[in-house]
């Protein structure tokens, strides 16, 4: 019989649903020593959280996160709330001595993020941050190719994260468009992922220069509706309010290893749905990835025969690819949800072995430092240096 790890989760909207999917299906990894027990789901609205708990198979629910983090039967707390609650809940959970899995971005500001790192270090708990793209098999393959030297010296990183879900001016103000709650727009929501991927593959970024813009400055407020947990379940009210985050952001970057980077994140790229794409060029080869085709990695090698060099389209669904053996036969692709199953596997595997999972809050803070330098550059109209030691 497998060991059990008891999980409490706070938040049951988009990320709560995704993390739940992770816990429900992680048993598919036969080699995992510990299986999760979905003990308790926490949300502020009883009607919503109780329905979600039944649908998703959580044993119980709470409406006060403080109760949850102090329950004796909880081994790890999973935080899926809006960004502005991360700071308080992480610190409270650390003080309660519970291990923490916190969704990204870690915080609204670098200062907050540093305090959170300090808190988990002080408490000695395990901590992980939800950069789920690190569990995409094709991205792990990119990392392997780079680490094995197949790309040689790295010259370029080119990352975009393009969406279009608010290109229509009638889309109402959600918390993601409210600077008080979200901290930023596509910078923290989307570019944070790209920045983490860049760090995962190339290492630290040292300098940035940036530009951003709020394209549509006023929108309908959001009507209070509770219907499912989907993004599309939001209705517009008659009144309007100010958009207080940027709609698009872009920046140039210099990496510590000498590589040059370009980054862009926008919610106004009509036709791009979840176009989280990057390309890395090196002296021996290149890789390219786009999340809309997340099972594929494109790889070009100058070491192939000269007459037969081309971008290989690798379907990372073979047993030799990270995480893939647990899933389906070759060519039977996985989806977005499965990245959370993989992520939960990483979390539980580390907890079962008493190790720190990866990525942890240090990765969260380092990402936050880059985002903060971007914000500073927008304000200063100049290049900004990124803090890299934590």
């Amino acid at each position: 019989m497998a060991k059990k790890i008891n999980v409490g989760m706070i938040g049951y909207s988009f990320m709560g649903k995704a993390h739940t999917f992770g816990y429900k299906n992680v048993g598919i990894f036969y080699e995992l020593e510990a299986l999760p027990v979905m003990k308790v789901l926490c949300g502020r609205k009883e009607e919503g959280v109780s329905a979600a708990a039944e649908r998703y198979g959580w044993e119980s629910y709470e409406t006060d996160w403080k109760k949850l983090v102090h329950r004796d039967d909880i081994d790890v707390v999973d935080i899926c709330t809006p960004n502005n609650q991360h700071h308080e809940i992480v610190i409270g959970t650390a003080e309660a001595g519970k291990n923490i899995f916190c969704e990204k971005p870690l915080a609204k500001t670098l200062d907050e993020a540093k305090e959170m790192l300090q808190a988990v270090r002080k408490a000695g708990v395990k901590h992980m941050i939800g950069f789920n793209y690190r569990t995409v098999p094709a991205i792990v393959l990119a990392k392997r190719l780079i680490d094995d030297g197949k790309l040689g010296d790295i010259y370029h990183f080119r990352g975009v994260y393009l969406q279009d879900w608010i290109v229509d001016p009638s889309v109402p103000l959600s918390w993601r468009l409210d600077g008080e709650v979200a901290g930023s727009g596509p910078l923290g929501d989307l570019a944070a992922h790209t920045v983490d991927i860049a760090r995962y593959l190339l290492g630290d970024i040292t300098n940035v220069v940036a530009n951003w813009k709020t394209i549509i400055e006023e929108r309908p407020l959001q009507a209070e509706t509770v219907k499912g947990t989907g993004i599309g379940d939001v209705q517009a009210a008659e009144e309007t309010g100010k958009v207080t985050v940027e709609d698009a952001v872009m920046f140039l970057a210099k990496f510590a290893n000498g590589a040059l980077g370009t980054f862009e994140a926008t919610r106004f790229a009509t036709g791009r749905k979840n176009y989280n794409a990057f390309e890395v060029n090196g002296s021996k080869g290149s890789v390219r990835f786009c999340f809309e085709d997340m099972n594929r990695l494109e790889f070009y090698s100058r070491e192939d025969d000269d007459y037969a060099q081309g971008w290989r389209n690798i379907l990372a669904t073979e047993n030799v690819h990270e995480f893939a053996a647990a899933w389906w036969p070759p060519g039977h692709i996985i989806g977005y949800g499965e990245t959370f199953v993989n992520e939960v596997y990483v979390l539980l595997d580390a907890l079962a072995k008493g190790q720190m999972p990866t990525p942890d809050f240090v990765d969260g803070v380092k990402c936050q430092a880059i985002l903060e330098a971007v914000v500073n550059s927008v304000k200063s109209n100049a290049w900004e240096v990124v803090e890299t030691e934590f």
Copy 2:
């Protein structure tokens, strides 16, 4: 509180794992009236079935399918065994008065399939066959476009199902290469899917002429190993045995509606992993699909402005796409496993409402009739007529 439907499943290998994934996650459909209870998993080897039951979250296990089908606490029996057991188990289950969800192909021969249809009709139980590709949102979209007349009169169906998992001669003989167990090779395993998709989109096939070949005629036997439920968990023994199914099959077809068809299924298409692809051409437009990019449907319309006609690459992940609203935001793709969640949704939704699910055993028999005509054509070296009334 949602109603409950109690499920017993027979078989826990590839398809058992896939169907389990369906039951575990179907709660994601908020509007579903009845949630499944994963009561019992059945398999012949106690060591394997008990481990799988724990990993996958089944409440109990059995080693004798007859016990399972007679348990009082079972509402629906899900049959995921090798093909040669479908006939006996379906008839036994029907006689026990239980609803049936049977994986495809329905049977090894048309005669068997007819008997199974007769049995479920006589018993008055609900029956469904596991053509899971009918729950791929992009394929449902193809159906919608055709039914709405967006393609006009249909001229061509072009379907291939290409894999390469046995191109290496050292791959051992699994039951899928044993004619006694599987009935046929890629014909029943792969072409059955393509044939069902063709029927789903265009209706009946009336005539076929075919060719097939066994490319590698002798292979190592399979060693007895129990490790997980994956396809890759199979080891080669020292002795060899005969391959008794075809390795590749292809046929021309005529549809009742006048359209012309070409079909091919092979396990020797090096580089194609699960390349279940089809194209339909009509007087007004065309569609193309490939399962390796299963979230996408390509659509060409002659009704677009003449200077702007092109193959649209539709990412069927929007709320307006069938099944998609239950899942993730736009552009966050689903995988192979999710087709089983959708399929289980269709099954449970029908059972909850007391309706017959689609596709049912009639679809299974009609598919079998086409496969049988293909076999007959290979033997006769001539065109064969397909039986279409059941």
Copy 3:
């Protein structure tokens, strides 16, 4: 100073324009020993042929092909007429002792084709047939990979040639839809190319079984208009006439080397413009090509590292690729017209060296034998044996 080879060309419509493009630009091959002199263009309508001669840079024009083939200043006769004139002109030209470059298909029937081969053999002239796809660098690369053993044993050839230019019923009857002139529809026009490519890559085809259909049986006649040389310059008359060729054809094939083939050619594949595509699967690797992306060859190799196998998209524009060095820097693609420049290079290079060009009339006859077997199979509703010795 380079040697000169004097050219006379018969026909100035689509193929005449294409071959002209070949002669005008062949000087781009610096290593070519002999440059062409565009002596005379021949067409039946003086107004049309004289304008074309000026535009395209031919020194003179004729309206009687017999005069042309007997002119002393002509070294090679290029035949670009409709198919039904090939037989007479080739025999007349051979008797006049001139070298011949004849556009495909060689003839309307196998008997005609055999007579033409006999005539050029008897006359001892050089002869070439216009299968221009053999000069696509990506297809030459496919040949190289196969010949070098990179694909191993060949199992499958899968070829389609899809167009949609007559899907609209108002498109008038051109000579291409008239069986008396064209001999056949997409069989001789399109499948002839696919068949030649299949023979080029895999060798002889020995057996076929086929199906075809005329989808739209009556169309407007074509009004007499002379405006340019383009396909689009054709107007519809008020009267209608019968389509006397097939609109779509498909067949299964067996190759002498044991490979299995599927072929399809249609003018009713809405959205496919010049989709001349094929895939070859072998024990070690595969290749795929589509003319709409004619500078690219896709190549999959099982000899790549197991974690990095994928379809390489090779842009065949490097100096190491056949014909490419004469053109532009890497990534600067060539078009359809350039295949004729390459083809004329092959022709002139052979003539300058006193050698027989490739492909020659034997290739033309062998292709014709396969097309004839397809026609016979449609009539017999059975497999037909292909004649292969000439």
Copy 4:
């Protein structure tokens, strides 16, 4: 009989070959009123220029450009020399009263460019600059869609021009790596094209912030070799020299219309051959183009039915597409060379009608102003304002 326009061309390397291809084939445009006469080719090395003149079909050659521009039989002078000679030759040609077709970039600096514009204005001659990408049918289609409002308000321009031809450190120093001759590296060579396309589609750029880098600072000198006119015909010497231009450059931009831009040009993007790609996002739709697939434009429209929105892949080879009717039937693609035929058509059509061709030297100067602001930004580490009135 068509009018004649006499052409003299200076330079016979890469661009000379390309422009020659233009003049030779422009007769394919049946409606063109004036056909070119390829009078004289000019180059400094007699051996090279005389061979090129014969191969390419120029009537005569010169070794002194001043003689050429003063010949009475020349109507238009085509300048294909390295960048540092543009200034002197343009001014000399203008003074000689001849019309000018000058390859891009117009000059090495903005000051030079302004003087050149002044000279042609003073002389009252016609002038055109060689931004050949404006004659790619797919790019003209992008322009049409934007001008017709199909994209709505424009939010984003995202342009990259990626090559890899000097990623190998053994590639010798050509004039393109010599700041004295070329003025800049990929900035003037590649980004100039992207900047012109951006201006063509969106209008003026007002502000930029930039970064660049020389990745490999020392390379073998180039041996003196004369063999053909190809890029690959260059040999390395034993001595080395300094690279005095950047290897990669990237910048953020603001457009006058409020759109946000990102630009990158590099010769170190391994695997990218001539990847001149851009994407434009607007409130109603988007377009994407990549030169490696230059016959295609991708177009997304929010005005399509909601369930059928997708990126259309438009093959711009139909008669309704600009320039396409003169070429081949649908789906028979054109190549890089054909953009010069189209460009020469635009030039001769304007000259025949006594009009100014587009793009002219004003476009050349405006492009230069943006490149100059980029250089200034690299030096200042800050945003720079672009001069836009000329």
